[in-house]
Symmetry: C2
Subunit: 444 residues, 2 copies
């Protein structure tokens, strides 16, 4: 019992080939058909070796946090308020924290009431709860293409159908949205929600242009479509710029998701939903059936941090940190990537979205990249419809600038070989593509 | 933004009567029909006033915890391991903690491998995940009657139908289970799971007799029914006694739910699922779509606590504490409750289940009890089928023995008046009964 064995090792009770011998196969709910493990998950074990530069993960750079004073604070929370911190709390979350969350949202121009905030176990839980409330099997959710892999996972778990709408450098294209809505109507499908990450998109790295925002809000109102606005990166604009939230334009038609994972600490799993008042009560009931209540300790820790630390200064530190890494990545891409590759220019957040020349399949190429000691997230995981084989997401949030440059250099080498092979033999591989997959939390 | 307003107060964006004016009414998923707020929720705000003795809650007595040394430990976790504690982790949970969880389960005779343990945000999340994996709308879950209100909430959220099977003082009655299975078969219903709390039942306070355990395991195997064994109280037997788990009798047909909420600290929200190996992988995928990963900090805190504290000694302290309170409650019930009332004799756990004389409706009586400064959880919340109007759950976990005695004295007075009225005017009220409801996390 003292060491973890690899999952495939033979031991009592295990089955050598689970796929075929699972005695529970006939018991699973229909929704489990949408729960698929990523084919690249196994590669991540390799990718986490120190010699591999991982540009695949979405882990924030916590080294910038003041761990010593956080440590002292944590002790204080338990010493002074332990009987509350370690006890059950309300399903909606600690009132003081919900007030502070309103102050955080005010930085992006959102005017909200603490009554309408529900604290969640990361905004992933927010996503899951909103989907639980609104999506019957077969309902359509429109999402940007590509979209956040965790959102696709939640939609799949509730058997919603995802329809992707293409972006350009200014984010979601309103005309594409109109077309998608018209097409769904023609197919007789009910579109329940638009799921969008307007700021510093994961994985695309683009930001929705300000003049498109009102238009998109209007289109959704016209078509009776609820907007799910996911905004984990909004305060991480490299010039300190923020953008008007969709929620501020249509408070009654937007469910807004926020998170402390990128502006403070992801391991605390504290996120929130700001919901229209009418939705809030159902949301609390859904959250209660999911986890009873979010961890009280974590809420008090975040609350104390917001109260006593210069959290705006900390966000500025994060921003400068990520800007330096973004710069390192963009200049390395410019310097090393072969002709025919294109990429987005993120002005905030964690990610660059790269398109490789036709014929290169990023998923097929990944094992060769890992062999060359660089990892990325291949594009198909970010689509529910099989697109993305010519794309990859590169993240600059976690490795140092030096490692980023080295990683891009290695990636360029792999791409060169891939293209060389292609010129010699034609397209390298033809792969069947697949839907949303979880490559693991480190790619969130 | 500095104070929380009562939910009913008028403010911009709020609707005076949400029920009728919710603009999202046509948008909710069908499953939300099963999400109902407890009618007694409003009473809980009153019940939490210091002058009211609450026998309604399920909050563990954390005053018995060594807060000072926990505070120091918390600081150490962040100072020494902050970059891990505050970062994303795996969806399955921290490996070291999963090994330690196996040691905890070994105390109840369970032999398990850390690979098959999935850490969850409290065992409520475990319940929710298992239901997600196994229950299609309309599937039948058999549960004891009464059953844990949080489980009924999860089953309702996935539109499963709950069929209750009556217990006696020795827990679930095997013959009743056989009859329920036969009846469901006759109705053409698919029974997916048996949900059971074998030890120190919530809310019934009874324990499944050892000689019934093998029989129940056998019945479920015969009928191809998966067992969900929920065991939060198993180590809280007042004489230090433990019972053989169903999981130990049928490792491949039992999904086992465990929790640190009652043996350590509920506010950390650390629970776990021990699943048959074939199920484990799907469970991890489900958990990933629900919360991405459980909070790393909380896992490291529990892990350090288990590693460095005398956690078995602490459980003994809890046990002695709860035994003293159980004794106080049972003797007060004996002394004060009017003739015609009966109750269970818990040998562990948190709860006594009281049956009042015919004609008394515990839900209708509750406002009068709260006026008399005592609160309890009325029985109907613990049934999905409307039973329970003559029952109530009294918990002795949180108040001091003195307060327990005073609470029971007050309750006896309320019951006397109720019965007096009944003798004068016949049955006090006829109430429509309703299904599973969440009275709030403090009744968990």
């Amino acid at each position: 019992m003292t060491s973890s064995q690899p999952p495939q090792s033979a031991r009592p009770g295990s089955t050598p080939s689970r796929q075929n011998l699972d005695p529970h196969l006939d018991r699973y709910a229909a929704r489990t058909a949408g729960m698929t493990a990523s084919e690249i998950r196994a590669l991540f074990a390799v990718a986490s070796r120190p010699e591999v530069v991982s540009l695949a993960g979405g882990m924030p750079n916590l080294a910038a946090l003041p761990l010593d004073s956080l440590s002292t604070q944590m002790a204080e929370v338990v010493a002074e308020d332990g009987l509350v911190a370690l006890q059950y709390g309300s399903a909606q979350g600690v009132p003081t924290l919900r007030e502070q969350i309103c102050d955080v949202m005010a930085m992006e121009g959102i005017s909200a009431h603490p009554d309408d905030v529900v604290v969640t176990v990361g905004s992933q839980m927010g996503l899951d709860m909103v989907t639980r409330l609104f999506c019957d099997p077969g309902d359509v959710v429109i999402a940007e293409g590509p979209s956040y892999v965790g959102a696709l996972g939640s939609f799949a778990a509730y058997q919603a159908n995802v329809v992707h709408v293409a972006m350009d450098d200014d984010g979601l294209v309103p005309d594409n949205l109109r077309e998608a809505l018209a097409a769904a109507k023609q197919r007789g499908q009910r579109v329940k929600c638009l799921y969008t990450i307007p700021n510093f998109h994961n994985p695309a790295g683009v930001t929705l242009a300000v003049d498109r925002r009102a238009e998109i809000v209007e289109i959704c109102a016209e078509h009776d479509v609820l907007i799910i606005e996911d905004n984990p990166y909004g305060l991480l604009g490299f010039d300190g710029q923020t953008y008007p939230s969709l929620r501020s334009m249509a408070p009654e038609n937007v469910v807004y998701l926020g998170s402390f994972s990128k502006t403070f600490a992801s391991g605390l799993r504290v996120g929130w939903v700001l919901a229209p008042h009418a939705v809030r009560e159902k949301l609390v009931l859904a959250a209660e059936s999911a986890t009873l209540c979010p961890p009280t300790l974590n809420q008090l820790v975040v609350s104390k941090y917001l109260e006593t630390h210069d959290w705006k200064g900390q966000i500025k530190t994060f921003r400068e940190n990520y800007r330096e890494r973004r710069d390192a990545m963009l200049s390395a891409l410019e310097q090393h990537l072969p002709a025919g590759c294109t990429w987005t220019q993120p002005e905030g957040g964690f990610y660059v979205w790269v398109t490789v020349p036709e014929g290169v399949d990023t998923k097929a190429m990944l094992p060769r990249a890992v062999t060359a000691r660089v990892a990325y997230a291949s594009g198909t995981g970010f689509y529910a419809d099989g697109l993305g084989s010519r794309q990859m997401r590169l993240s600059y949030c976690y490795p140092t600038p030096e490692r980023i440059r080295e990683g891009v250099r290695r990636l360029a080498g792999v791409l060169e070989s891939e293209m060389e092979l292609m010129r010699t033999f034609g397209s390298v591989t033809t792969r069947t593509v697949s839907g949303p997959q979880f490559p693991g939390p480190d790619t969130a």
